[in-house]
Every structure is written in C-alpha cells, then in structure tokens.
Point group: C2
Chain length 459, copies 2
C-alpha cells in the first residue's frame, strides 16, 4: 500500500478521535474581543500547544504578546527539504444573537453530518484537520515529509495586532518556502477551490454628537439634533440603494479584473449565483447591478453598517433623543488598495456628507490589506493535485470576498507563495448563529493536507 | 393671618419632612417598562396609598388592572362644592445610559438646590407637592376647600393602557368639574406657564428583514441585503436633513395656529429660543427653518428615531450583516390628528419608500392623542391667579411639545376643563441621565396648589 493510502487509512481509523479532539477544543469559548473570555483564549492556546507536543513536535511554545498569546511549533526534519509555514487562528467570534442558536454555541453538537459550534469552521475545525494530517505522517511515517513551522494566533477576530507585530519583527524566525492557510471555503462540497485573492478590510466607528445631553422628544422634538437621524442621513449618502459607494477617489483606484476572471464571473459556470441566493434565502440580490455577483464579492469594494449604538433599543417606548450615536461601518477593498489611504478618503466623504448641526469623529478600528496570489508556482500546483486526488475534481482558482490581512503581510514580508486551501462550505454561517463544519469536509480536508505535504518539492 | 398665609407657613415649617417623603418615594425604582421592576412599581403605588391615608383621605384604594395598579383616593367634603380630579403618575422612565449619572439614579441626592433622582420631576416630585398642599389644608383647616378625587397611574411611561381603560369604563366614578395635572414644566424659574396644548404621540417599531440568517460581510458583502442600511435609507427618506416629513397627507392636516399664537412664536418675547439652545448646549437648531422654533415644538409634527437594534454594537469589530434590524420611530402630532390615522399614513410612506429586496413590518407600539385647551374658564383663571400670587408674575399660556394622552382622554370623556399647571424646569433632563427637580420649585409648587384649591369656585 502506498504512503498516502496508509495515511488515509490511519485518518479513517482515527477519525472519531480527531472529532473528539475538535469537540474538546471547540468547547473552550475563546472569544478574543470580549475581555471576560481572556482566560478561555489562553486555555485554547494551551490546548493546542499540548496537541502539537503529543503529535511529536520537538519545539512548541506559547509566545506572550501585548494581547493574546501566539502558539508556535517547529519540526525541522531535513535541511534539504523545503519549509512550510502553516498559519491559523484559535480565537472565535462573539455569539450574539444567542437566542438564534439551535444548540448552545460552545457545546459542540453532531447533527446531520455536521459539527455545530462557534469556531467549528472558522477556524478551529480547519486547524484540527491540519493537525490530524501532521499526526498521520508522524505515526505512519515516523517523520514529516517537509520542515514545518506552525503559527497560530488568538486575535484574528480582534484585529490581529499581536501576530502582525510578531511577523514584522521576526521574519527570520518565520523564514519558509511557502505558507499554508486553511481558513477559507470551497464553492460547494463537490467543487473544491483554491483562493487566489482576498479583499482588504477597513473597520471604522463613526461617532456623531448632537446636544450635550439626552433629550426628551416631546420637549425638544422639532429643534433638537438627533445623532441617530444624522447617521441615517450620512450612511444613506455614503452608499445608495444601488450599492454605489459615494467616495470619489474609489472608482479610479479599483483595478480592472483579468479578462479570464471577468469571463468566469460573467459566465458563472459553477452557478454560484444560485448558491448565494439559496444560502441567503432570498430571491433577489442587493447591490451594484452593473457588475456580476462574483465580481461584486471578489473585487468590488463594499461599505456595510454592522450596528448603530445609541438611544434606546430595549422593550417599551422610551422617547429619548440621544446626545450621541455610533455606527460601526466597514469597507472591503481590492488587494491593491491600502486601507489606511482609503480611511482618509472615507473621512473626507464623511465630513462632506454630514448634515449640519453635529460633530462627527471617525475612528480606524482595524485595517488589513487584501492579497492577490499568482497561482503559477509548485506549491499551489501541489495543492491542486492533492485536492483533485481527494475530491475527484480539479479546484477552481477564485477570489474570496473576505479578508485575511495576515496573508497579505506574509506575502509582503516573506515574499513566498501563499496557499489558501480551505475546506469550509458557504453555508457554514461563520460569524453568525449555528456555525458548523461538515464532518465529510473535515475528513477530506485531513487527507488532502496529508497528501499535499507529501507532494511538496522544492522548486 | 389669612388662610393661605397659614398654609404657606405650615408648608415652610414642614418642608424638610416633605423632601424626606419625596426621597423615600423616589428611592423605589418604579420603572414601568421593565418586567424585573414589577414589584417596585407595586411598592411605589402602595407607598402613595399610605401617604394619602396619613393625610386624611377617607377613601383610598389600589385598583388592580391588567398591568400596574391605579391609586385612587377620594375626599368628599361638601356636595355644594365643586369636585377636582387630580391626575399623576408614579412610574418612571428607565435609567440607561447608567454611566452618565453623577449619582445613582435611585439614590435621591440633594445638590445645588435640586433633588437628583429618576422621577424627581417626572412625576413623583410634582405629585408630592400636590400631596403637601392637600396636607396643609387638612392640618391647618381640618378639611379641604373642594371635593378631591385623585387618580395616579403606574404606566404613563409604558403606554398608559390601564388608566385609559379605567377612564373609558368608569366615567361616572371620575365625574368632576375640572382636572388638575402637574406633569409639565414652566418657561423658566421666573416665568411660570400654564399649558394649553400638548402634542399627540405615535410610537412605532419598523422591523426590516433581509437574508434568512446573519451573514459575513466578507463572503456576502456586495450581494447581501443589509437591513441596517435599508433602515438608514428608509429613515433618511421619511425625514430629510431639512426636518421635512415625507408623509404627503400630513401637510394638509396640520391646523393653522391662531394669529396670537403665531405672533407669540414669531416674536418669542420670553427668549425661549436662547433657553433651548443653552439647554441643548448647541449654537444651532436642527429642523424646519421655515417655522419659528416654538411652533416646531408646539404644533409641528415630528418624526424621531430613538434607537436601531440589530447587528453588533459591542466592543471590537464584528463584521456581521444582520438578518434583521428594528428601528424605534415615534411621531409627535398636533392635537387634532388621530394617531391611529397617522399610523396608516406612516405605514403607506414606509412601504413606498422601502428599498427593494427587503420585507418590512410596522408595529403600532403606542398611540395617544394630543390636547388643546381653551383657557377661558374659572378653573384656569384660578390657577393663573394662584401662580401669580406665589411666583409674582402672570403665567403665559403655552403649548408644550410633549404628550400626555390621558389629558386628551379626560377632555373627551369628562368634557371638563383640564388645568395643566406644572412646576418642572426645562433643564430637569426628564427621561435622561441626572433628572432633577428644583427644591425651590417644589416649595413654590406646594404653595401654588394649596392656593389654587382655595380659589376654586363653581362657575
């Protein structure tokens, strides 16, 4: 029996144990943005350090940072072999709105061939399948086929400051020939994909102040500034019903897609548009009708409001005009655009579109560049071959709308290919209630990564 | 010494005790809209029943309702004398945002000649001064000069369903010659006022649904409906930056002001505009520039958004596109307009201004008519004389922007004059943090009400 067949056999035989590990890890509520979960985040980091040690990594360490710790592991097998840096994140998103979860968000639950839990797909499940692949090599072959460095952060959902700082300050420690990131999703369970582009992100808070104190709408309604109304006016001016973003500098700065990409987006041979409609549960999309839906997700910039704080949103009828209101507004950006530059454009647009009678302040909460990968290199070819071997069909090379700022930083600092090979599915509802990961994807992902490791050759 | 002088002497001599009673009552957090305060509301009702009994009311009772209880007291002194019905409310508004309070909201605190506490001005302080006036008569004169019925509700801040139900079903029990309501404010500490008009209110929730689940703005941004953005578009269309409300039926339905009122509003001889600017802490008003500020508060309709629920408003950077968002939107209306009719107009406007790709649902949370009082009657004349005797200047007759729907109901059901004589000040910040009541207003209010009771004559 060939090596990969043995490793696949090992992974099948030990699958339930791997699911058990994942359940253990998922049960730790490592929400990085909430201070009350600080200890849980630490515990989730410690858990994976112990797992790496158990697999056989000679070097594992928890790296302290100003925020949550980094997990680092290294297994140097042969100087002649290439080195692969594997990145992932062990922190998860908050869980609200809690009532919409069918099972408790941190009680990993097996249902209909899926495992439901916050973090199941994003990203603990995808890290766990990498760990399973590494274990298969360690047990079946008593070694790894390439040198492996693994770096996991605990702040991906909270801005990722610590890992960015570390990468910038320790490029030599992270030196590698390629980077593997399993934190994306496929087109669907039958159509694998490798991601060649990710949008950048700019996350801001727009704070608007009116009167010096909250006011009663009876006594002051008609003369009082209402920061909530001002935010409605402002946001409706920043982005219209047609999805057009009213930032004049933006239009000229968006790069044209390659003819092949444009054709793929226009033809949509995989009928992704239908998938998107079904996933959203709508029969009509919202957004820029002049662009194909795939281009709107892959390349076009977006401006979304994620929440508006201020006034009264509880039960009952409080007639308050708040003194202050804050909107959380983010933008997704094509990879060539520096989010810090776009922040200045957005600030200009906010100032010039604010209604009179208010003060406004825009805060840059988080900015990360996008990434654009040229797929013509041996590492991505090895990934494509491994995907085809397990899934039975060649992956498509696609852009994804999300942002993994660390991918852009790796590309910039390490100057090596980034392999964005993820096993999530579009209906995993990451960042939302009832996040899940398909157990079938979990199993195939392990086998694909194990196979990929064996196919890597120094160019 | 004349009767009123003796009563004033009594009120001065017992002032500290009255402040103590008010502190006791204010310390009970009777927030009617929050279910967890149900027992506190009950306790605040019980407290005032005991106070009425202590004053000497022969009949006092707690009337059970579907919601919070009504407090009823009656003191029949002489069939030949007129009967005054006194209305007030013992419930209070919620207290958020809590961090903005300088002292705990339910720890009555004396500071700078004021008493700070939720409910100090709205309305416990104003009921307490009426109770003090009644006690002065009971102790100094061993009787009251007129028959008194007192009806206090515990749901004024929660829609007032129970009292409205009671008034509609027991008009004979409440039969009276006039109604006194102390729940409004004066122009300022030197310029007393009697209110001759109150706006009606319509309080709604606008619920907008987009996708079937919350979505990730990376994976779906560009094609996903965003209900928060839809609400921004909708609200900006319902009311523009110029304050104009986009409900076509409304313009024709607003009654013209009387020439005297229009002149008063235009001239603003009491410089109320400057007071409003100072109270709000702004140097520019927001709203319909074509109308004087006093007309905008007194007669013009308003449309205000009080809060927008949905998505993520906590710390950090959650990139969620919520499936659903809800805006709390209220309107203030001139007294002649039926809020239920306006609800239909608003619903039409919402439906015709909704962006495509969403479902929307408008809920009528609460509706109350405004009231318009003709000041030419002996009860309001008696009130004006009493005000002048204590404050040293004649009151102005004014409209107030707020809503006391029960006043409209009393006018409709009992068909008697409503005396809206309140002692609040514009900077009492009712419904907002640091609500207070001036101790000097508290003292003068007691004396004014005691004097008013003595001046009432059957016409």
């Amino acid at each position: 029996m060939a090596g990969q067949a043995k490793r696949n056999e090992y992974l099948d035989a030990n699958f339930d144990r791997m699911v058990g590990y994942l359940q253990e890890w998922l049960a730790i509520p490592s929400i990085s943005t909430l201070p009350e979960h600080r200890k849980d985040v630490q515990q989730a980091a410690q858990w994976v350090v112990e797992r790496l040690t158990a697999i056989g990594f000679p070097e594992t360490t928890l790296i302290s940072t100003a925020g949550h710790p980094l997990v680092y592991g290294q297994w140097q097998v042969d100087k002649q072999q290439p080195t692969l840096l594997i990145y992932g994140h062990y922190d998860v998103q908050p869980v609200d709105p809690l009532p919409q979860w069918s099972s408790p968000p941190f009680q990993p639950t097996l249902r209909d061939g899926n495992i439901y839990c916050r973090g199941a797909s994003d990203d603990k499940g995808q890290i766990m399948l990498v760990l399973a692949a590494l274990e298969a090599w360690a047990r079946v072959d008593a070694t790894l086929p390439v040198n492996v460095k693994i770096l996991l952060e605990g702040e991906e959902e909270a801005g990722g400051a610590a890992v960015a700082d570390y990468v910038l300050n320790h490029p030599e420690a992270l030196h590698a020939d390629a980077v593997l990131i399993c934190d994306t999703h496929m087109v669907n369970a039958e159509q694998p994909s490798i991601i060649t582009g990710l949008r950048g992100i700019l996350y801001t808070e727009i704070a608007v102040t009116g009167a010096k104190t909250d006011l009663h709408s009876g006594s002051y309604g008609g003369v009082a500034p209402n920061p909530l109304h001002a935010l409605c006016l402002l946001i409706s001016r920043l982005k219209g019903e047609d999805g057009g973003i009213n930032i004049p500098q933006l239009a000229a700065a968006i790069p044209p897609p390659t003819p092949i990409e444009k054709q793929f987006w226009q033809d949509d041979p995989l009928h992704i548009k239908e998938d998107l409609l079904a996933e959203m549960g709508v029969n009509k999309m919202v957004g820029e009708v002049a662009y194909p839906p795939l281009e709107r997700i892959g390349l076009r910039p977006t401006l979304e409001v994620h929440g508006i704080r201020g006034g009264f949103t509880g039960e009952g009828c409080k007639t308050v005009i708040p003194a202050r209101a804050v909107a959380k507004v983010s933008m997704r950006l094509p990879a060539n655009l520096d989010p810090r530059k776009v922040f200045n454009w957005l600030e200009e647009a906010v100032l010039s579109n604010m209604p009179a009678g208010y003060t406004v302040n825009l805060t840059n909460m988080h900015a990360g560049k996008g990434v654009s990968v040229n797929p013509d290199n041996p590492y991505i070819r090895a990934a494509a071959e491994a995907v085809e071997a397990t899934f039975g069909s060649l992956p498509v090379f696609m852009r994804e709308g999300g942002s993994i700022p660390i991918a852009a930083l790796f590309a910039e600092v390490l100057q090596v290919p980034i392999v964005l090979m993820g096993f999530g599915l579009p209906d995993d509802t990451i960042h939302a209630p009832n996040e899940k990961f398909s157990l079938s994807q979990f199993r195939k992902g392990m086998k694909t990564v194990a196979d990929f490791l064996g196919r890597i050759r120094r160019p």
